[in-house]
């Protein structure tokens, strides 16, 4: 049970961020107030599709990239 209250540190969009352990990618998006329909999640260099976001737990040391479309030529 103690691991549930531990903090983990991940690299989120290139910057270190601390969260409580046991966090899923889906919860992470909710926490950041982001819409899974317009954001693509890359977890340790692997794209995680929306149906799998709830089942994927973020671990200490993970790298998460959240990208979306912006204006471009």
């Amino acid at each position: 049970m103690s691991t549930r209250t531990d903090k983990i540190e991940i690299t989120l969009n290139g910057a270190p961020r601390r969260f409580e352990s046991g966090l899923s990618l889906e919860s992470l998006l909710k926490r950041l107030d982001l819409d899974a329909r317009t954001v693509v999640v890359e977890h340790n260099r692997t794209i995680v599709r929306p149906p799998a976001l709830g089942d994927t737990e973020v671990q200490d040391g993970d790298t998460v990239e959240l990208v979306h479309f912006v204006g471009g030529g």
């Binding site: 317009t38 954001v39 890359e42 599709r49 979306h68």
Partner: protein, 266 residues
């Protein structure tokens, strides 16, 4: 004659099995605000609009995706890999874009030099090979070199997109001969991408016989982007029609337009 004109203006552009009414493709970058961008796209009549893939800005609480302003039902969103300097980076961006987007198309850019933004053709060919194998419809941004263009076609790219001049330069079509050569030799659509500065550039480019033109800065950085978008719409159609109409030959001597007979005695 009216029938001929109607037929030619009704022709369409087909890339990788998708058919578009307009031969003008536009970017969505550099606009001062989204409202101007939306109105400019509308005025341009473009069906294909390019977008870039970037990190969500986590510090700004309501950093909106551009999808809130572009309707994927009305516009065909073409993701680019702009800002990528290696083939691996470009393939990573392309895969992310496919997840975020609505189609298998990618505008593949692999940049080789920060100052000129000229393409790295070796990285480009590598990435094109990988992405075609993964089922992407690759529209490859390249220089105006026929050999690279032929290689890209051989690899199975859906379209080859040679530059008119460097990205964002507005210098216009610097080598019409190279562009004509590429168009003559390739079977896949040739879309000239980058370098157009104003309407006459777009018109001259289309007069070379290419299948389309893609531009961003020329519209976004015009004093009145909506008016320039309209001008580009007319220029692309005008240039296309002129190409189909077939221009008169160039002559080194003057030939009078009026009859030389029947002139009054002096």
């Amino acid at each position: 004659m009216a029938t001929t004109v109607r037929e030619t203006t009704a022709e369409t552009l087909t890339i990788g099995g998708h058919t578009f009414a307009s031969r003008l493709l536009v970017g969505t970058g550099k606009y001062t605000n989204n409202e101007t961008m939306v109105r400019a796209i509308e005025a341009s009549g473009a069906n294909v609009v390019t977008v870039a893939v970037r990190r969500v800005d986590l510090d700004r609480s309501k950093d909106e995706s551009i999808l809130h302003h572009l309707s994927p039902e009305r516009l065909f969103l073409l993701a680019n890999t702009a800002g990528c300097y290696t083939g691996d980076e470009a393939t990573r961006y392309a895969r992310l874009a496919r997840e975020a987007g609505f189609n298998e198309f990618v505008k593949l850019e692999v940049i080789g030099d920060k100052e000129t933004l000229m393409p790295d053709v070796i990285g480009l060919l590598d990435a094109a090979r990988t992405l075609v194998a993964e089922g992407f419809q690759v529209m490859a941004y390249t220089n105006d070199d026929i050999v690279t263009a032929l290689r890209l076609e051989d690899l199975g790219c859906a379209a080859v997109m040679p530059l008119a001049s460097p990205i964002g330069s507005g210098l216009g079509l610097l080598n019409p001969h190279h562009i004509r050569t590429i168009k003559h030799r390739l079977s896949v659509p040739v879309i000239v991408d980058a370098g157009v500065g104003t309407a006459s550039d777009a018109c001259v480019t289309m007069e070379q016989g290419v299948d389309g033109v893609l531009m961003n800065t020329a519209i976004a950085e015009a004093r009145d982007p909506v008016a320039m978008a309209r001008a580009m719409n007319l220029a692309v159609r005008s240039g296309r029609l002129a190409h189909l109409a077939g221009r008169m030959p160039r002559r080194e001597i003057a030939v009078p337009s009026s009859p030389e007979s029947g002139v009054l005695d002096t």
